[in-house]
């Protein structure tokens, strides 16, 4: 059901953990739906110099988190913001249709971390990124 690439990233996930001196942290998803991704980054001079993830979820959730960290590591913020869920899925040689939402979550987790970075800089992230993907917050509001 999963591609070899998905199984590789699930079985040997890259960049697991937390960046210790992170200045950008984003968490998306919710435990009721069965997926949570938390991404932490160190951003220096607009470049993502380090990135790690922790994920609660299925094989596809872990694999999309893993590949997404690889795709944006060493990239500029703008490059990272242009990462789409389709690109995440393609990099894994595709996902089963029922698992495409995991790639969406990976894209959102990257954006949520960058939004957090802007907020910490005193910059309103919304004009740059749009929704901050903190859906729990949206629901509360």
């Amino acid at each position: 059901m999963y591609s070899e690439k998905v199984m590789d990233h699930f079985g040997n996930p890259r960049n697991v953990g937390e960046v210790e001196d992170a200045n950008a942290v984003g968490q998306v998803g919710n435990p009721i739906c069965g997926d949570i991704m938390k991404i932490s980054m160190k951003i220096e001079d607009d470049v993502i110099s380090d990135i790690r993830f922790k994920t609660f979820g299925c094989g596809a959730a872990v694999a999309t988190s893993s590949i997404a960290t690889e795709l944006v590591k060493g990239k500029t913020i703008n490059e990272a913001l242009s990462l789409t869920n389709k690109a995440v899925a393609q990099a894994l040689d595709g996902l089963p249709p029922a698992k495409m939402h995991c790639s969406v979550l990976a894209e959102e987790a990257i954006k949520a971390a960058i939004a957090d970075y802007y907020q910490k800089q005193g910059v309103d992230p919304e004009p740059i990124i749009g929704c901050n993907f903190n859906c729990a917050q949206c629901k509360e509001e």
Partner: protein, 388 residues
């Protein structure tokens, strides 16, 4: 092939050697159509008659009360839909539970769109119903009670005889989906006031694609399939001779060895339960003792079931989960929600189901491989961090 431990016997079982041997002639030289009248075909006819007698005697039934079908799903659909049709003049109310298999649940949900009314009895955290709830749910227009004999996900055994007694005294038809129970625990239509009972061969080491519906004599269930008049005119279609013979052979073998199998298998099950519930933030699902011999079912908090299954698979262990991600929908198992587990915990479910083919070495292997998998997934889980 590398090491494999098959611990998904509630999904399906390996075909027994005896069943295969019994089937072989009907897959090869004995290909005659049982409906034909020449001697060659009468061999097939006799084989089916013999199988029917065997199944009937094991279930405490008469041969004319056994109808062969394509499996549990067909038997469930037939029993439920036809019971509603049979008692249409009485009403459209059905009583069931919140932990039925999809073959029953989705049939009921379909009937609800057609005007039927269904009461789903609640279950407690062990998966048990309260017979008083059942009594209270019975109305003048109740036509059917359908309750499974044992649950396929959490292993809990339901009180079929008591439910049957309530149904009988109320004049309501009683169907039981005994797919997971037959061949594993004693079940007899003779003392249990059962009007209809579904079973399928592949859950007790028979072939896939063959099952049966017991219909108590006197219950004139409407025809399921119209055609050449097979199965006493109720379920037409040329018989699956080999499947029927295999079903009977497997059931005979399972019944003959039921006590010794149950003893050995439940001891292995209890070793799994003892070992795996030592893992922090884990628990057994279903009843601790009133459960099927082969089913050890758990939830592990802060991780997700499909991930457990995939890592177990890499270790050569076949198991299953009721998590959302192991199904097409995004909802976790309705059974796990019905026993009161919150969504986030139901996602972390694991079912290991054993048979007499498993060995103590298999249990050692699972007990060695599973705890580090749980630990590894938790080390990746942001929820585990928050918990600590």
């Amino acid at each position: 092939m590398s090491k494999m431990v098959y611990a998904d016997n509630a999904a399906t079982t390996a075909l027994s050697k005896n069943a295969l041997d019994a089937m072989m002639p009907y897959l090869t030289e004995q290909y005659g159509n049982p409906s034909s009248i020449y001697k060659f075909s009468q061999n097939s006819k006799r084989a089916i008659d013999g199988a029917r007698e065997k199944v009937a005697s094991i279930l405490g039934a008469r041969p004319e009360e056994i109808f062969f079908t394509s499996g549990g799903t067909e038997s469930d659909n037939w029993a439920i839909k036809s019971a509603l049709e049979l008692r249409a003049d009485k009403g459209k109310h059905i009583i069931s539970t919140g932990i039925e298999h999809h073959a029953v649940l989705h049939t009921l949900q379909h009937l609800e769109t057609q005007g039927a009314e269904v009461t789903y009895l609640p279950v407690n955290e062990l998966g048990q119903i309260d017979l008083n709830d059942l009594r209270k749910a019975i109305r003048k227009d109740t036509v059917l009670i359908t309750v499974m004999a044992a649950n396929n996900e959490i292993g809990t055994i339901l009180p079929v005889a008591e439910i049957g007694a309530v149904a009988r005294e109320s004049g309501v038809l009683f169907h039981t989906d005994a797919v997971q129970a037959v061949g594993h625990i004693p079940i007899s239509t003779a003392g249990m006031s059962i009007d209809m009972l579904s079973l399928t061969a592949h859950k007790f080491k028979g072939p896939k694609g063959c099952g049966a519906l017991y219909i108590r004599g006197g219950v004139r269930l409407p025809t399921l399939l119209h055609g050449g008049g097979h199965e006493r005119g109720l379920r037409s279609g040329t018989e699956n001779t080999a499947g029927i013979v295999g079903l009977a052979a497997a059931l005979e073998e399972a019944s003959l060895h039921m006590n010794e199998n149950a003893k050995r298998v439940s001891a292995m099950r209890d070793r799994l339960i003892g070992g795996l519930t030592k893992i922090p933030a884990s628990r057994l699902t279903g009843h601790p003792t009133k459960r099927l011999p082969g089913i050890a079912s758990f939830v592990f908090e802060y991780i997700e079931g499909e991930s457990i299954i995939l890592l177990l698979d890499q270790a050569g262990i076949c198991a299953s989960s009721g998590s959302a991600c192991s199904s097409a929908s995004l909802e976790p198992s309705s059974v796990l929600l019905a026993i009161g587990l919150p969504h986030e915990i139901a996602h972390g479910s694991l079912r290991l189901s054993l048979s007499e083919d498993n060995s103590e070495e298999d249990i050692d292997y699972i007990l060695e491989k599973l705890p580090p998998i749980i630990e590894r997934l938790r080390s990746m889980s942001p929820l585990w961090d928050n918990k600590k």
